[in-house]
């Protein structure tokens, strides 16, 4: 029996190739996903292992409980903890380390305040993740080390100077050496600047404090035991973690950022396997039908049904195994390719660890591929071997009418999902809570989204005929009309083929619409809330860090400036127990500072213990004019305020600051002399660009304080979102690849089945180019069908998820250029997919095709 199976496969090489092709793609995606993830994990782990290799244990401060995201200070640990550590049995050496935010002078054209942070680092004695690889360590206040990437980017060398600052003014430092990290350059990480130890403490406000300690253990001692001892000894002051766990943890964290790639690969694996299983199913149906007589004959000759079943299934399993092995090879290659794309496209540079191919990955690929092939062949095999031997020998086998469960399930699921998404949007929009639900709207929308994909996948079969008729309506040429009918005649096959594009494009379109809409909503809010002609803000990583009030004083004196409104932030825990800031405002410049509307009470009463509240917050807390409210001010304890004004902010930005108190009150509470932002009105006749230029010229020697106008601000926000566009394009590309493979296979099968028909039209005068055209149009129509379904899902879900996540006030932006590109790109994918099958059809031997046996 095995010989018969093998011979069958060999004699129908093309068919076997078809069967295998779909499985190959699916398995390739599965394997690629696992290899990619495993390689990343191994790569990052080894990077972090070497990063922490110098030390055995790290001792870090306990994160303060009232850690406030607006109070962006890194936690510290007292310097003298080192003595305590050294006293612990097994500790060999302890090295204090310092890390804090610093600012390097901006590069020409660089937009300040965005991008990865810059850390000032310093270490003393002992082991560290940092080292001086060239030159020498900084010895005086104005000496620094820069990492190789920064030196290269700025075209600097040892001996040159660079301006560096923390919150204060820039100062000129001499570059005395190159800073190396034990973990090499991981590409998308932060920039590090090495400083002299005491200078760093002073600059970063860490007198007597450090960021962490690196601890080495006496050789031969048990690291875990020492770690536990340290933790016991440091109870409450700091915590210890072994470098090994830290490396694993850090690798895990970083990898999560790239995890979406894995998810997408697995989704595409799923799509190709579903498409693949249908190709296998269809192919086996054809094959088995053709061989019904052969099977019947074997039954007459005494073969049992089980034997025949085994024979057909053996074929499927052989195809599955071979295809899985080929798929695994492609998958490993694909994983390498994806890495290359990520690095090449600038999304990031990944640690170079080689490809990690786990044995498990191969087993999973093999099992998935083989099972798909066997299961897909099972139904046709079962049917074919089930008929009586005599019926099989007769000419025609009656075809049972297929059940239509998929239609009703698809219809039900699609409807329910649409309702779910719409409900979710209503719930999200409805801030008053009129539409109550037990489910979180985002969760509801997510379930709806999933259901919609599955529902439409089932429904695609029923929609194929009408939608393709509609799409093909404008087609007049004979070849395209025949193609349209060909695409419609096997709706199930057309639907499953189109499904890969449907799912791929659906996902991509949803992501594209959601991200553009979120972006535009943010930008609109920014634009709406922007008052004045320019804003002066801190740059660098921490936009909540303040700057000297001297900045405001100097800006006020400029002839280009009419008025300046000062805002200063006070970190608090608000009435709802949420970390927040209270904003210090001056009542006489409030019209410039905030775009407010509908004031109840009066701004001029916001003095002393007076407080103004955004209406949304007032509604949430139930506070009214004259009510008292106690705020927990970080570092200064509780203080009670009286509500004096309630107002709305134009543009309805719900997450902007809610609590406003008087500027002088803030000064009184914290005796710092810093502002957090200045809103500047231009003098008459000065345009915003000239204003910004003048302010920035005046502030040249202030580090990290820059003026921008609304146009520039929007530009700055848009900048990092461009990377997202690249990512969406990449995903689009992946889904198109899967679709192309599916279409190629389906058309091969179709051309094979229609040999006689093609021979006929060739005999009566259809030229080869016309035959090619016919196949091409069919491919285009199938692809466009998938595109239409996918884009419809994408637009609907894009809308649904945008409204659900942003709620009232969201601005829906459908990136039509993406939609149009997706549609026509699919058409082009169809053309590409048709190349081989079209050629095969055109090459067909007319005589053999019309020969009648």
């Amino acid at each position: 029996m095995l010989t018969i199976s093998l011979r069958n496969l060999w004699e129908h090489k093309l068919r076997s190739f078809l069967l295998g092709g779909a499985i190959v793609t699916g398995v390739a995606f599965v394997v690629a996903a696992f290899v990619f993830t495993d390689s990343l994990r191994a790569g990052f782990t080894s990077v972090f292992q070497s990063a922490f290799a110098a030390v055995d244990i790290q001792v870090t401060p306990i994160q303060p409980e009232d850690l406030n995201e607006f109070n962006f200070e890194l936690p510290t640990i007292p310097e003298d903890v080192a003595d305590e550590l050294l006293a612990i049995d097994g500790v060999e050496a302890v090295s204090p380390q310092i890390q804090g935010f610093v600012i390097l002078e901006p590069l020409e054209g660089e937009l300040p305040g965005f991008g990865p942070p810059t850390f000032g680092v310093a270490w003393e004695g002992g082991p560290s993740a940092f080292e001086v690889v060239d030159g020498r360590a900084p010895e005086t206040d104005l000496e620094v080390l820069l990492d190789a990437a920064t030196l290269e980017e700025r075209e600097l060398a040892i001996g040159d100077t660079i301006r560096v600052a923390t919150a204060g003014a820039f100062e000129e430092y001499e570059i005395v050496g190159e800073l190396g990290f034990a973990f090499g350059d991981i590409g998308f990480g932060p920039t590090f600047v090495g400083l002299e130890f005491e200078r760093a403490q002073e600059l970063l406000g860490m007198d007597g404090e450090v960021s962490n300690f690196g601890v080495t253990v006496v050789p031969g001692e048990d690291v875990d035991r020492v770690n536990a001892d340290i933790n016991a000894a440091l109870d409450g002051v700091g915590e210890a973690i072994t470098s090994q766990s830290a490396a694993e943890q850090s690798a895990e964290d970083l990898q999560e950022g790239l995890g979406f790639f894995n998810t997408f690969l697995l989704i595409f694996a799923g799509i190709s396997l579903v498409t693949g299983s249908f190709v296998v199913y269809n192919a086996f149906r054809v094959v088995v039908a053709q061989r019904t007589r052969e099977l019947g004959l074997l039954r007459v000759l005494g073969a049992t049904r089980a034997e025949l079943l085994r024979m057909v299934l053996t074929e499927a399993v052989i195809v599955g195994v071979v295809a899985s092995l080929i798929g695994a090879v492609f998958g490993i290659a694909a994983a390498a390719f994806i890495r290359w794309v990520i690095e090449f496209s600038g999304v990031g540079s990944l640690p170079d660890s080689g490809l990690v191919v786990e044995f498990d990955t191969l087993v999973i690929g093999l099992v998935v591929g083989t099972t798909t092939a066997a299961l897909s062949a099972l139904i046709p095999a079962f049917r074919a071997t089930g008929i009586s031997p005599m019926a099989a020998l007769r000419d025609q086998v009656e075809v049972k009418r297929a059940s239509r469960w998929w239609l009703w399930t698809g219809l039900g699921l699609t409807t329910a999902s649409v309702v779910a998404v719409v409900l979710a949007t209503m719930q999200a929009r409805d801030t008053a809570g009129a539409v109550q639900g037990n489910v979180d709207p985002i969760q509801l929308a997510g379930i709806g989204a999933l259901g919609l994909f599955v529902g439409l996948f089932l429904l695609a079969r029923a929609l194929a005929r009408p939608v393709i008729a509609g799409l093909g309506r404008p087609l007049r040429r004979l070849t395209s009309v025949i193609a349209r009918e060909n695409a419609r005649r096997t709706p199930r096959r057309t639907a499953t083929t189109a499904a890969s594009l449907m799912i791929g494009l659906g996902l991509v379109a949803t992501v594209a619409i959601l991200s553009t809409s979120v972006e535009d909503t943010i930008l609109e809010a920014v634009e709406e809330a922007f008052t004045g002609d320019a804003i002066v803000q801190p740059t660098g990583f921490n936009v909540f860090s303040g700057f000297s009030t001297e900045v405001g004083d100097r800006v006020e004196t400029l002839p280009e400036v009419d008025r300046v409104a000062r805002l200063t932030y006070l970190p608090i825990t608000d009435a709802s127990g949420i970390p927040n800031v209270a904003v210090g405002i001056e009542p006489d410049t409030i019209d410039l500072a905030i775009n407010f509307e509908d004031v109840e009470g009066s701004w001029s009463d916001v003095v002393g213990d007076g407080l103004a509240l955004q209406r949304i917050e007032a509604d949430n807390t139930g506070l009214g004019i004259g009510d008292e409210v106690t705020l927990d001010i970080i570092g200064a304890g509780e203080r009670t305020f009286v509500v004096r004004a309630i107002f709305d902010i134009g543009g309805g930005v719900s997450d902007s600051q809610s609590w406003y108190i008087n500027y002088e009150t803030v000064r009184e509470i914290n005796d710092q002399t810093t502002d957090n932002s200045l809103i500047v009105a231009a003098a008459e006749g000065v345009d915003p660009d000239a204003l910004v230029e003048a302010i920035n010229a005046e502030l040249e020697d202030f580090a990290g304080v820059t003026a921008t106008n609304i146009a520039q601000l929007i530009e700055q926000i848009r900048q990092p979102l461009l990377a997202l566009t690249g990512m969406i394009a990449g995903l689009l590309f992946l889904s198109v690849i899967v679709a192309v493979v599916g279409i190629v296979l389906t058309l091969y099968l179709a051309v094979n089945e229609r040999t006689r028909e093609i021979g006929l039209v060739r005999a009566i005068g259809m030229t080869r180019p016309q035959v090619r055209q016919m196949v091409r149009w069919e491919a285009i129509l199938i692809a466009l069908y998938g595109a239409v379904l996918g884009l419809a899902i994408g637009i609907f879900l894009g809308w649904g998820l945008t409204v659900t996540t942003i709620g009232e006030g969201s601005s829906l932006t459908i990136p039509w250029s993406w939609v149009v590109a997706g549609f026509f790109g699919s058409g082009i994918a169809g053309v590409l997919a048709s190349l081989l099958p079209a050629n095969q059809a055109a090459k067909l031997d007319v005589l053999r095709a019309i020969a009648y046996e």
Partner: protein, 242 residues
């Protein structure tokens, strides 16, 4: 009499140079006159189909020449042959004559539309009328009987008023009544519209509809009858078999 198609010293050898060499046509010279209904008969494997394919430009000769009108087929490229078939030749095959996704009417218009022309409506309607297909025109092949399908095929073959129609066992799969309907139609197309038809058959009754019957054996014409009835054909076959 004008000649619609002819072959001179036509030889066709399959698998030349191999041990499985088969001589399908062994130097056939034959004229097919315009406006006549010819039939080619012969035992299975005698080369009837091969001859027809070579004369119709579906296959090429190993030696000798085949002509349609004054065009020598051997001198044409594949594309020119395709266009010649489209414009000058009609075909009726034994089975699978129709494109399953197209309706009867669309199938009939197929060659005209492949050429990118508009169908000659008056002529087509006349053909359809005679074939008694009126109510079937919007049906797909799967909804038609075998006889109806073959009549649609005949209508398609004639819809472009070709120079010559080749029919390879057109009634081979039909019952007697359907065969009679189809063959009478072919006969009328010759008599009333002056069409030229050549039909391959092994059925003496079918051959009796023809003006002329050529008998083939081992790739050579061995006998010929003019205006025969079925009995004469049968006698001739017996004579040849003896």
């Amino acid at each position: 009499m004008e000649v619609a198609a002819h072959v001179v010293d036509a030889r066709k050898v399959y698998g030349e140079g191999t041990t499985a060499e088969v001589v399908a046509l062994d130097g056939v010279t034959l004229d097919l006159e315009k406006g006549r209904f010819g039939a080619i008969m012969g035992p299975s494997g005698s080369g009837k189909s091969t001859l027809m394919h070579c004369m119709a430009g579906l296959d090429s000769l190993t030696e000798g020449s085949a002509w349609i009108g004054d065009v020598e087929l051997g001198s044409l490229t594949d594309k020119e042959l395709t266009i010649l078939r489209r414009d000058k030749v009609g075909f009726v095959f034994q089975a699978f004559n129709l494109v399953p996704t197209l309706t009867a009417a669309e199938n009939i218009d197929l060659p005209v539309r492949i050429a990118g022309h508009e169908p000659d409506a008056a002529w087509r309607d006349q053909v359809i009328e005679i074939l008694d297909l009126g109510d079937r025109l919007t049906h797909r092949p799967s909804e038609m009987s075998g006889g109806q399908q073959q009549r649609v095929a005949a209508a398609r073959a004639l819809a472009r008023k070709p120079d010559i129609v080749f029919a390879d066992e057109p009634s081979g799969n039909l019952d007697t009544t359907s065969a009679h309907e189809l063959l009478s139609f072919l006969r009328r197309a010759v008599d009333e519209f002056g069409q030229t038809i050549v039909m391959v058959t092994h059925d003496p009754a079918a051959a009796s509809y023809a003006d002329r019957v050529v008998f083939l054996r081992d790739g050579l014409p061995v006998a010929e009858l003019a205006d025969p009835d079925a009995n004469q054909v049968l006698d001739q076959i017996k004579q040849l078999e003896a």
